[in-house]
Amino acid sequence: MMHAVVDSLAMIGVSYVMGFLFYGFYRQLNARIQRRWGPSIWQNFFDNMKFFFKSETLSHGPMFFFGPMIIMAGAFTTVLFVPFLKDSTWLQGFSQYGNLILIIYLLVVGPLGNALAVGSSGNPFGVMGVTRGLTRLMGLEVPFFLGLALVMLQHETSSVHAIMAAQDGLANWGIVTNPVAFVVILLPFIAAQNASPFDVVGAPVEVYAGPRVEFGGRLLGVLMTQNMMMSIAKLVLVVDLFLGGASNVLVLIAKAFSLFLLTTAISMVFPRLKTEQAVDFFWKVPLGIGVLAVILTVWLPSWSA
């Protein structure tokens, strides 16, 4: 019991620290590319703490308050059901009770809570942000889940632990044995991280802060925290599925960071798409590859047999 509590707290702490450091790095790299100094690597931590210590004087009814709490709870549970390390008793959370299918469900809690909270605020800009978010969700969910299904098919299990255990050694990493699934997942994954070119929801400069338009003060701090933790949970999930997991925290950080660098490099080069362009893209490219891959992995072996 004691072990589970300490372990859960450690997971939440690790994902939070990794979250703000990764995002701080992202902002600094972005600044250097634009030939300026940029903020310090701790900047996201300062921003987040500042929001936690601001006042919160507005209220749009109970749902406005519970929405961020639902999103936050979703982020916590997602973090706790993704195993951070393999062959270790630490940083496991409750992952032995869950599997990939449960994680798929938990990933949708965030957008749902968002829609509830923003809907009760009644701000038209917020509703516009939610609409854009749900439209994009329509595009990215299908290829993303198709990619996860491909991984489950390949290993014939939905347990993340078993998938990690199957990838012993570089030659057995998911990215080597099943590169098509990695490609299918990678693009929706960038969108799920809310990174350019698919950042149509927050869309800085284009729409007023998207769904977060009515949030300021502490609730915005909560939303920022869950965003950072959720990003790390997704990164670790992809590391578990394709990069063979990690046996200690340093390896975990190194692998997650290299994956982060890959997505960052993609998002720095490509500018934002329009909402309908993004959905179009998802329905054509990743979904097309995904369907081809399903045909290749499911039907071809049975024909040749």
Partner: protein, 210 residues
């Protein structure tokens, strides 16, 4: 040979105005200091482009001036902002919007007045529909004088504000809370019929938090 030390003449005067002396420093606990320190490292700015000074705020975010290295970054809405920059003269029409935006900001909040027009009306001192002293309607924490001030001057204003925040003590929003009746009377005198509806500010009377 004459050596310039830290500052001279009117520059010293300015520095003294910006940073209160040691005697005034408020004693606070370690936690308060830590929070204040983080707070000054992260200022979200709501840039209110009212006058010609607005044109000098845009370059702040560009690679040349790079205000982000001080943790200063633009906010999309008043709800998320810490600093309201009033860039120049305020017509009566815009004054109303500025008051509304200011009251929507979450505390702690600060205001920077940019340009001579916010101090004494500047070259609009005898205009029929321009507010002369913005300080009479909403509390201003830092003035940046000049017509128009360069982006460097604005950055200096921000740095002075950061020092203020770091030192703690009372800021403009405390004043606004304490003297709300005085501010409201002034606003009513200027705006008359156009006064924002009472529900936008009556929670100030209700003891603080709505």
């Amino acid at each position: 040979m004459y050596h310039k030390t830290q500052c001279e003449g009117f520059q010293c005067e300015q520095a003294m105005l910006e940073v209160p002396g040691d005697a005034e420093t408020v004693r606070e606990g370690v936690l308060d200091k830590l929070i204040a320190w983080m707070r000054q490292r992260s200022l979200f700015v709501l840039a209110y482009g009212t006058g010609c000074g607005a044109i000098e705020m845009r370059p702040l975010m560009t690679s040349r001036f790079d205000a982000e290295r001080f943790g200063i970054i633009g906010a999309a809405t008043p709800r998320q902002a810490d600093v309201l920059v009033i860039s120049g003269y305020l017509a009566l029409k815009t004054l109303r919007r500025v008051i509304r935006s200011y009251e929507q900001m979450q505390e702690p909040k600060y205001v920077i007045g940019l340009g001579s027009c916010t101090i004494n009306g500047g070259m609009y001192w005898d205009s029929y529909n321009t507010v002369k002293q913005v300080d009479r309607y909403i509390p201003i924490d830092i003035y940046v004088n000049g017509c128009m001030p360069r982006p460097e001057a604005l950055i200096e204003g921000f740095v002075a504000l950061q020092q203020r925040i770091k030192q703690g003590g009372k800021a403009g929003y405390h004043q606004y809370r304490e003297n709300i009746d005085w501010y409201k009377a002034n606003q009513r005198k200027a705006l008359g019929e156009e006064m924002p509806p009472a529900y936008t500010y009556d929670w100030y009377h209700a003891g603080g938090v709505a």
